[in-house]
Amino acid sequence: MAEKRLKTDVLVIGGGLAGCFTAVTARESGAEVILAEKNYCGKTGSSHYARDIMIFKEEWGDNFGEWMSQFDMIGEHIINQEWAEIILRESYPRFRDLVDWGVPFYLNDEFGDTSTGLVSYAIGSPAPEEEPFRYAFRKTKYRKVGKVAKYGERHKMMIARRKVLKSGATIIDRIMLTDLIKKNGRVIGAAGFHTVNGDLYFIEAKAVVIATGCLTFRGAWHGCRSNAGEGVTMGYRAGADLSGMEFGYGMYVVSDCDTVTIDGPIAEIGAKKDRVTNGLGEEFMDDIPHIPTNILWPIEVHKGNGPIYHEAYGMDREKFKDALDKYNKTAEGPWIEMLDRAGLDIFKDRFQQYMGFVGSTWAGGLLINTNCETTVPGLYAVGDAAGTDYTGPTYSALGSGMCSACVTGYRAGINAAKFARESIQLEASPEEIDSLKNTILTPLERKSGFQPDHVLLRIQQTILPYEVRMVMHGKRLEAALTMIDFFKEHFLPRMQATDSHQLRNVHEIRSMIAGAEIMLRTALFRTESRGWFFREDYPRRDDKNWLKWVRVKQDEKGQMQLSTEDVPRKWQGDLSLPYEERYPLQYGYGEEA
């Protein structure tokens, strides 16, 4: 096992879309760049599996005020409007960058950017009037506010990889970074190891950018299961503030088949006709579409009306054969083929589904300012790992995850390069290096101990049941916390890694345990309900006390500190409105039911 020491101006940790954008932009701004990816950059991250990208463009008739008011309504008056505006306004230039990189988008003459013929609503997708974003409205109607461009390309991230290499940045694959290196209060690099050959890596950099994606517990939803939030938790340990960590999200998945959902295919093949029913056979969602399932389904189950079924109807397989074949080839995955293989027919069968809890949301993570700097000098964050609060306790628009990955990546690239130009490289002390070596490698040295799969299962059993992080209650959050504390104190210090692959698992679990604690404590702290964040013991929005963001940080003694920051008055919306008007998206929780 060798020990590698590398030096660069900007170190990017994570090679999803946000990381690639950062690397390209930092390099083009003149910095030397290393991008370290724990898998193979170009084949991994949520980015690899995502399809839609949000684009706002006034020239297309998009109205800024209207978009913002939708974001705000869905985000229930606690969104960071400065970030929301930046993401909207910079969506089109970043989309153009992707086009310049060579990422293909579906062509649609009618709705597309006809001047270039590149932009798009996917052919065969529902009319935009009906479904611009699959917004979540219970008592209000859909409104068309904009366009979403679709990736039809399964290999867009390979195109991004090639762009990174072409820019002159260096990519190192299979390097998992686990800990930041600090000196004089500044982040000066990161440490980790090669997951295949076990080599130790110490990378010194003038600026470090965390682009490690969301924090998951390897739950049932596909695509992001390899993200265990190491970037967020190593930033936390380095003293950075986090925001929005109480807001988790889930995605509905088919129980019997390891496939994302049948909603994507149904929407994609053109004639969207589907129904969702509960155990009594009732269509309990009225005409509510899909995104709010995050909270509506768990509540229905909690009432004792489970399970939840989802079925397509009135469609003919033969008629949609071409559309189905096309869908199989999209980035989202070969779902129809896999359903076939599992003996399930999307046109005939009723699918039992449940929520696959993911973890931190698109807008929760390392708190950043509009230069993408965290609260620790030298440390930046982008994409899903960043805390911008742009969507609040929900997901404001389909396609905004990818969009914000591009926008934050671009900004971080410029600013991290600038920071690197203006700073000198600090050397890591030998003591620090020794201590990191110890932290990283100790699990390999143990002759026996708890195995990663054992501890992973325990974490999942604790955090994934709907009654813990979907329909929440103080007592149950406390109970889960008791278990997580136990894992932290008993399992974690005794975990064994039999080789470098298992060492990766151990460090992912280390991150999950920290992440679970953060998510549970912040959820306990917010004593209200808002958006998808539902506390059974506090079932109403509490405007008096909770027009606030929850911040978390680790103090010098290693203790978790929770605090709040008021949402500026100008972003709180009209407080004089009656509750029902202020919150038109009624999810049917608690007293509202």
Binding site: K43, G45, D173, H222, R225, P298, M338, L464, H501
Partner: protein, 72 residues
Amino acid sequence: MVIKRIDNDKCNGCRICVDACPMDVIRFDEENNKAVIKYATDCICCYNCEEDCPTGAIYVDPLRDPQVPPAW
């Protein structure tokens, strides 16, 4: 569920599946010049390997692994 097999006769040793795996499940056997399933229990059923394999040597079983506790 998980990746079930890599067909030895079909595998041409191109390593595409090794790179495609986001969980480091597949490793390369240098001696025999073949991809091998090394850590099947970590498979997350993303189908990357099967989709990318140029010779159709890989089969992933889509039945959900009961190991991940369902939300309900």
